[in-house]
Symmetry: C2
Subunit: 220 residues, 2 copies
């Protein structure tokens, strides 16, 4: 496919995804898509023959993009905590930049042909396992606390994927603020650290008093 | 409505939600629902006149149940960290017990009449703000760390809501294990606490050596 044809094809998919997100997949027609593109239906047909093909292409491209970014991170020689940071930042950026694709990807699974739905489910599962391997490595090296890795992955991806529901492009936060906030929460937790708590503080105060008394006794 | 009629109505909604989840809302017909219930279409009509009514009832009941549980927590005199713990446990239990309702609630928004969709969005927003008030209170009291409260709420609800996508009733985790894992992650964070790090450890070791030397010097 030449570059121009590829660019138009991308534009067709992006427009279809926007309409699927706004009106729902079933309610959107090929006429709607052609109209918004300002394209004749005959031209549209040279790219896609049916709505189902567009839905399949959107789903395939979405999971392929996720998989590609993750495999770059997995192959890098970063420490596990830095790998996880990159996954979070990549994921947030991707969800924000492709909100319509993600909405379609997450909401229209029941409209996919069963064979494709199964293939995508297997790819999603591989993605989850890739992220899990980072968490397992971090726990093995003693950098991460002991929380069931699969729950960490589901929790983290839930946090990140849910963005497609609430992200507002005219809102106060961009990808950077959102990643930083989520990373701070996931890395440090919500509860303020008491570093040993009052018991250690009391023991330290008692030792200091004893040292002062000893010191005075020696001076006397 | 008498108790028996109410019970049948609940059963109708539950069956409709199961079918909407399995096949998608648009692809499910009233005939499908009547058939699975083993009910004539005429009897079904005495409960609901259209699929749209069922979708509306499912959405209304879902948000009403969330709102009810949250307002009990908000009115309690629990500490903010315990309020948040209860919200997490309630939410996990509810999503697991009502997976079909939640799938429909989260996936079929575009199929709702616009007026109802707006009313539900407003109720969801009130729910988010209720959870946010707990996070704000915890931060004010110095129990929670300083992460933007709205991001904490979106992150937390993303984690909890995403359950409807991956929860497997035949899987290894029940509501209790999932809440405990998520709470551990959200409260404590993923990074292992170093409680002051190696610098403090070295200072302590040096003080202990000095104390031993002083003690020996005094004994000598």
């Amino acid at each position: 496919m030449n570059a121009r044809r590829q660019a138009v094809r991308d534009q067709v998919l992006r427009t279809a995804a926007d309409l699927f997100r706004e009106r729902g997949y079933r309610a959107t027609t090929l006429d709607d898509i052609a109209a918004r593109l300002g394209m004749s239906k005959a031209s549209l047909y040279t790219y896609f023959h049916a709505k189902e093909e567009m839905l399949a292409a959107i789903s395939r491209q979405t999971i392929a993009a996720f998989t590609r970014e993750l495999s770059l991170v997995l192959r890098s020689d970063l420490a596990p905590e830095d790998k996880l940071r990159r996954v979070v930042r990549d994921h947030v950026r991707f969800v924000i930049a492709n909100r319509s694709f993600l909405t379609v990807f997450f909401s229209e699974e029941t409209n996919l042909p069963p064979r494709l739905a199964r293939a995508l489910a297997a790819q999603k599962d591989r993605y989850d396992k890739g992220v899990e391997s980072i968490v397992v490595e971090g726990a093995r090296r003693g950098v991460f606390r002991d929380v069931p890795p699969r729950l960490v992955v589901f929790g983290l991806l839930g946090m990140l994927n849910w963005l497609y529901k609430w992200y507002n492009p005219r809102g106060r936060w961009g990808a950077e603020e959102i990643s930083t906030g989520f990373l701070s929460l996931v890395e440090g937790g919500l509860l303020r650290r008491r570093s040993g708590g009052p018991a250690l503080g009391r023991r330290l105060a008692r030792l200091q008093r004893e040292l002062q008394e000893l010191s005075r006794a020696l001076d006397a």
